[in-house]
Amino acid sequence: MNPYLAMMALFLMVSLMCMLPLVPALVELRRKSDAQPLRVVQQNAGEIRHFANSFRDYIKEIEPTIQRCVTDGTTATGTLVNGEEYVVLGRADEPLLRALEQRDALHPVVITAGVDLTVPAESTLSKEIYAGSLFVGGERNIYRAILGENNVHLGAASQVTRWVHAVGKFTAERGCRLYGRISSDSLIRLRTDCIFLRLNAPRIEIGDTVANEDAASSLVPASANSVPSQRFFHDGDFDVEPGEIIRGNIVIRGNLHIGAGARICGSVKSTKDLVTGDGVSVGGSLVSAQKMQIGPNCAVHGPIVAERELAVASGTRCGSLKHPTTVSAPRIAVEEGAVVFGTLWARERGEVVVGQ
């Protein structure tokens, strides 16, 4: 073989091999199949009611049907714009009960208007439910999502896989598993052994007996906004003495223990574990980079954030009706008798435990 030709062939071969990794790149550059900007959530702020609001919009198209069913007291079935089946119950709920008696999951979107809806025990509703009036669920039911225009009550050991929004009160009996978002425009009440992730309501009550609002609010000092912005900085573990009053913000690079009855008129940060005694009040935020344990009958005005775990004891109040707040940690255990005004958000697992 001609040596020049061989050289040329070798050169071409090597060039081709070098170009090989660039082929998919060149194809993508030309086709621009994945050239859109990354999707950034622009229009909503991650509101807990986002799904509920979207669902309300979604069923708007069958509003005339709902109105007709309410007026005539009839039921209707049909298909929504994306092909999903629906059932509208204007008066009685026989079609729903008939399907549930078969013990299979009920697949259509269920809409009840103007009538109270009672779902028998051990039912599975695998699509969204719209309840125009009261919603009462039996024990051990499984729901995907519920939008209730009035109160929503779940029986013991029920499960929600996506979301619930109640315009009225939302209550969950013992042992409910509330995965996803649960919100109410007035009140959420959870009983013992309930598991939750994200809750939001003006008032979230854990258990039946909750902290006395008047007594606890008297513990809360002035808003954090009026506190001087200077920080008291301490390296190492630190104890706030019982009954001590601190006017200002404190940053502790270590473990922090706040003694019973102490009052902090400002915010608190601990880079390790943070433990508060009985009846402590904090005017601003409470942040721990590790675990946090809030003792009984405490009052915290601002956001509460623990990066690992959070335990909230009975009788403790977080935020107030006028100043709602967020309580957040990957794992949260809240004792019966605690109250949160605003958001209670456990990224991994939240649970209601019996008070000590």
């Binding site: 993508e28 990354l38 950034v40």
Partner: protein
């Protein structure tokens, strides 16, 4: 000469290891997003500074977006900082002031020292809120962004906050697509890993926030700095304030669409970063300050990021030199240099960080552009090195730094 080569290879290996550590942490480690769940609070008053120098193409977009964000209207004041604009920027801002009475207070600056830091410094006379947010005029904040950027300030240790930057004009051409990948790696992996590991997430000076009391404590904006964001990060760190990164607080930006603009931008970043390295490097690593040990080490390495380019070039030159000197056997060292140089150097992220970021972002096809990053690498290594050399020569000749604004490409709205 050979010992110098050994030293360079050692340093490059450290940077390579650091990048692998970040990537593995991001893929398999514990992810820290401690403040992102704060969605209900007694939101504090906030001032939003919008830095604008000849921004007629983009300023209306950001003001529009800020007027529709979900934050209590009576607690948010927007201050467009019109820095000596000679185009229609002032006119556009004034129209917004008229349309949204009480919500926008413009700061029109006709003279004074050039540069963003100097403009922000002058605009501080209008600021009396504890929380300040800063945006460049080409950014478009989403509805929930302000709350997300304010939330970390409930933590008393936090002095600065940084959100994630996402290119809006990603698909325009090869350069924007490469920058989109780079940004993705830099934020999704590099910044978040530093947040996870409690190291030093960097303040970016835009889609960002700063606490007024912290800013006052560290002496305000440094108008002599070419990159006020890096400067701010280190002064906060030295004074015991944390800068936190919020990966889920995303905001669209515009990236350069032509190479000369990109080169100018990266040269400015390199000069500013090197300036901070000289000013704060030793003080951070060895001085008496409030930074933790891991922050001292990571902070020092972060300061040296832009010094890696000239160092790598020097390493290559030395490797060639010792080869022709006949020093042998050096195969291992040279192989290590070849392997690590590309993995250690990145303006925002190394190539495997970018690959990991693309996976985390859930994108598919854009990752096939990865081989083209070698082009960005080549441009960066020479531009950054050129910036470093010109910085040294400026030091010798006494020439002053000057601030170049990045050109915009959006059509006037």
């Amino acid at each position: 000469m050979i010992y110098l080569l050994y030293a360079i290879v050692f340093v490059i290996c450290i940077y390579t290891g650091r990048h692998y550590w970040f990537t593995l942490n991001r893929l398999f480690g514990f992810q820290r997003h401690p403040y992102i769940d704060i969605d209900t609070a007694d939101w504090p008053p906030v001032t939003v500074l919008v830095a604008a120098h000849n921004e007629e193409k983009v300023v209306a977009n950001i003001l529009d977006a800020l007027m529709t964000v979900k934050y209590p209207e009576d607690r948010m004041l927007v201050v467009p900082v019109n820095d000596r604009s000679t185009d229609r920027t002032r006119e556009i801002i004034d129209k917004f002031v008229e349309d949204f009475p009480g919500r926008i207070q413009p700061f029109h600056r006709a003279g004074g020292k050039g540069g963003k830091a100097a403009a922000l410094k002058d605009a501080m006379e209008l600021v009396n809120t504890e929380v300040i947010l800063i945006f460049d005029a080409d950014y478009i904040p989403g509805a929930g962004l302000i709350k997300q950027l304010v939330a970390p300030f409930f933590d008393l240790e936090v002095g600065g906050v940084m959100g994630r930057v996402v290119p809006l004009n990603a698909g325009t051409n090869l350069l924007t697509r490469l920058l989109d990948l780079e940004r993705s790696g830099g934020y999704q992996v590099d910044q978040q890993a530093r947040m996870n590991l409690r190291l030093v997430p960097q303040h970016g000076g835009t889609v960002a926030g700063v606490r007024l009391s912290a800013l006052r404590e560290i002496g305000g904006w440094n108008e002599n700095s070419l990159t006020e964001d890096t400067d701010l990060t280190y002064r906060l760190l030295l004074n015991g304030w944390k800068t936190v990164y919020q990966n889920r607080s995303e905001c669209y930006e515009e990236v350069p669409e032509i190479w000369p603009v990109r080169i100018k931008q990266i040269m400015r970043w390199a000069k500013g970063h090197n300036q901070a390295m000289v000013t704060y490097g030793l003080r951070l690593l060895l001085g008496k300050n409030r930074a933790t040990l891991r922050e001292r080490i990571d902070g020092t390495l972060l300061l040296g990021v832009y010094a890696m380019a000239p160092l790598t070039l020097l390493g290559w030159a030395l490797a060639l030199g010792v080869f022709y000197q006949g020093v042998a056997p050096l195969h291992g060292v040279i192989a290590l240099l070849s392997l690590t140089a590309y993995a250690a150097l990145g303006n925002l992220a190394a190539f495997f960080e970018i690959a990991a970021a693309a996976r985390l972002d859930g994108t598919r096809k854009r990752i096939s552009l990865l081989p083209f990053l070698i082009l960005g690498f080549a441009v960066s290594i020479f531009s950054v090195s050129r910036a470093a050399f010109s910085q040294v020569s400026d030091l010798v000749t006494g020439a002053e730094f000057h601030w170049d604004k990045t050109e915009r490409f959006r059509k006037v709205s």
